[in-house]
């Protein structure tokens, strides 16, 4: 059998849902080809008064906080040393890595001159939040790639890189958290320049801080939803007990966010707040979607019930998504103007979401993502020269454990 035949047989054996995802991704690929042939003006509903649309609002401003699970959980597990949550780290890293790679794809589609993307690395402008975010996203995607290499090396039994990766694990976790803090918040800084454009319901000087804290809420919720769903649909191990611990942390982060949000809204905002009914409704939707899960998660019953816990997490995700759309799209629309995405824009964004799920399912299928229990991994170097027997140095076993 030729390689093509093997791949064909393998793909045909996939679940229909996976095949459906492949179709969605191919459609998005086709749509982005159309964008590059005919230009942004014809294929999108963007114009001079509304230059940033769905691709920035969802593919960048919303997708980045949704991929925040990796750095949040990394810090919780390794820095705060809540070791029992470790089995959740790897799926979170895979989600983060996929999320950031797709952010890069979305960003390149939206740029007028994607072939000049590297210019940010040459022509520095530290006064630009966009410069800061693009540098951070490049750095963080690299960090996530290195963290993602661990399951790959395990799969193929590469011991030397595995030990190296294990050694730099802690520096990577700390780097991930610091870089993420910077760019998650700087996405909020983007909109600080839109002084008289962004509606006062969302414009306030604390926007960067709010973006950072809400990104952590979104990250924790994504991990919860993901673990619940992959247990339910992909037959992966049940992590309910660990998710309960996460559900104990989440309401406190939410509480910090909500109090900062309300403080900044009433104490630091200038201008009329309730002058546009449509925006008021979106604001109420966003706040309700975040207050409800906070109240829900305070009760032990909700935290222990898989379905309710997952509902609360979905609500948080919904609330953060609405918030990002409010800031980057609805709140930016001048009264009387209206933007809605074109078919091409929508197909591309749907394709990017589909690609995320598709790659996650495939990676989980072929690499040890969920089966990961660090104590069972063999970090020893293969002893080709039988040095250990001859008594050269200390036995290698246990060396690679964390300090």
């Amino acid at each position: 059998m030729t390689a093509a035949k093997i791949i064909y047989k393998e793909v045909m054996a996939y679940h229909n849902f996976v095949k459906f995802l492949i179709v969605l991704v191919s459609m998005a690929a086709l749509a982005s080809l159309i964008r590059f042939i005919f230009g942004l003006g014809v294929t999108t509903n963007l114009n001079d008064t509304f230059p940033w649309g769905l691709w920035i609002s969802f593919d960048v401003v919303t997708a980045v906080p949704l991929a925040a699970g990796a750095f949040t959980l990394g810090a919780i597990v390794h820095c705060f040393h809540i070791k029992k949550l470790e089995p959740l780290v790897r799926p979170a890293i895979v989600t983060g890595f996929l999320g950031y790679s797709l952010v890069c794809v979305g960003l390149l589609l939206d740029l007028g001159q994607p072939q000049r993307g590297w210019h940010t690395m040459v022509y520095w402008n530290p006064h630009s939040p966009m410069f800061e975010v693009s540098m951070c996203i490049m750095a963080y995607t690299t960090v996530l790639f290195l963290e993602f290499l661990s399951p790959v090396c395990e799969k193929f039994g590469y011991h030397v890189p595995l030990r190296l990766l294990r050694t730099i694990e802690m520096p990577l976790v700390v780097a991930a958290a610091s870089i993420s803090t910077l760019h998650q918040s700087s996405l909020g800084t983007f909109f600080l320049i839109a002084v008289d454009k962004l509606h006062p319901l969302w414009y306030n000087p604390l926007l960067p801080l709010l973006f950072w804290v809400s990104a952590m809420c979104a990250g924790i919720s994504i991990i919860t939803v993901e673990a619940t769903m992959s247990h339910k649909w992909m037959g992966q191990p049940d992590e309910s007990e660990l998710l309960e611990t996460l559900a104990k942390i989440l309401p406190w982060v939410l509480a910090v966010y909500l109090s900062l949000r309300l403080f900044s809204l009433f104490a630091l905002t200038e201008g009329a707040l309730w002058d546009r009914p449509g925006l008021t409704a979106l604001f109420v939707l966003e706040i309700v979607a975040l207050v409800t899960p906070f109240l829900m998660l305070l009760s032990r019953k909700v935290r222990e019930n898989n379905r309710l816990r997952s509902t609360a997490a979905w609500l948080v995700i919904f609330g953060v998504v609405v918030n990002r759309f409010n800031v980057s799209m609805f709140g930016m629309e001048a009264p009387g103007t209206m933007y809605y995405p074109s078919i091409i824009e929508s197909v591309v964004t749907i394709g990017i979401i589909a690609a995320h799920i598709l790659f996650f399912v495939l990676i989980a299928k072929y690499f040890p993502i969920f089966e990961h229990h660090p104590e069972t991994v063999d970090y020893t170097l293969p002893d080709h020269f039988r040095k250990a027997e001859k008594g050269h140095g200390a036995p290698a076993a246990g060396v690679g454990n964390e300090a």
Partner: protein, 280 residues
């Protein structure tokens, strides 16, 4: 933002006296000629009023806006020349990730098309809605009024200011402001007290004198603070936050891992094996 000049009094500025504008649109033609911009196919009365082209675009860097109003029961026109304001501290220059915009010491804010990556942040940031995009192209760039930098640096006046018979004066910003005050003082019944551009966005290189209130003419309400300061108050904290988060998390990890480390050393001592060198 390679050059930050704190004193802008000697940069060149436009003083545009809208009461002297006759709406001839010679400035629009001169701008198209000097910058070699394409003509636009337009239909009359598609914009807010008589102006044509209806809006500024990649092909139109300046236009005269026509405003109908009633005076003593008679229909009258007021005019407003829309163009890049060439801010003293431009928002476009501060947000551009590749520093494609530059406030020159001569006055104009210039744009370097060879650097631009096409992210459109300048369009989002500009409080006056000036930068326009080449929407028709597959790999578009930004277009905006150049302030005729190529002329100004040779000691000439911008094309529109050269053509204009009456309304546009061009020269050092402090002289333009003084001239504006002189005209206001001479005809207080005619001119509005306010000068648009003197303080808007921290001061601009285009200053307007009018007889009609500015919002009626379609001037945007803009903050008086320089826009870059809004983002800089957050961005200046970036290095500090990076170091604080990084070092506090490292310190925290060192403490939280300490117990494990001690336990491990204890075990190794008991088993009588010399502890291997710490790896991480």
């Amino acid at each position: 933002m390679s050059d930050i000049h704190k004193d802008f009094s000697k940069t060149n500025a436009f003083l545009i006296d809208m009461t002297k504008c006759t709406g001839c649109r010679g400035c629009q033609v001169a701008c198209k000629q000097w910058n070699q911009l394409d003509a636009e196919k337009t239909v009359f009365f598609t914009g807010e009023g008589y102006q044509n082209p209806p809006v500024m675009s990649e092909h139109t860097f300046t236009r005269i806006k026509f405003k109908d109003f009633q005076k003593n029961g008679q229909n009258e026109f007021a005019f407003y020349k829309e163009m890049c304001m060439h801010c003293n501290e431009p928002a476009c220059a501060s947000v551009c990730p590749v520093g494609a915009f530059n406030k020159t010491k001569e006055g104009p804010v210039t744009y370097d098309a060879d650097r631009c990556i096409g992210c459109r942040f300048c369009m989002v940031a500009c409080p006056f809605g000036v930068p326009k995009y080449e929407w028709s192209k597959a790999f578009p760039l930004v277009k905006k009024c150049t302030g005729c930098f190529s002329r100004v640096k040779e000691g000439k006046k911008p094309a529109c200011a050269t053509t204009c018979a009456s309304a546009i004066t061009y020269g050092p910003r402090d002289e333009m402001l003084a001239e504006a005050s002189k005209r206001q003082a001479a005809r207080p019944e005619k001119y509005l007290k306010k000068l648009y551009g003197a303080e808007e966005a921290g001061g601009t290189s285009v200053i307007y004198l009018t007889a009609l209130p500015f919002d009626e003419l379609g001037f945007k309400h803009v903050t008086k603070r320089p826009l870059p300061s809004y983002t800089w108050q957050a961005l200046r904290l970036v290095p500090g936050i990076f170091l604080t988060v990084g070092s506090s998390l490292s310190l925290l990890s060192w403490f939280t891992h300490r117990k494990d480390r001690l336990k491990k050393e204890e075990e190794q001592r008991k088993s009588g094996v010399t502890p291997p060198k710490e790896e991480s």
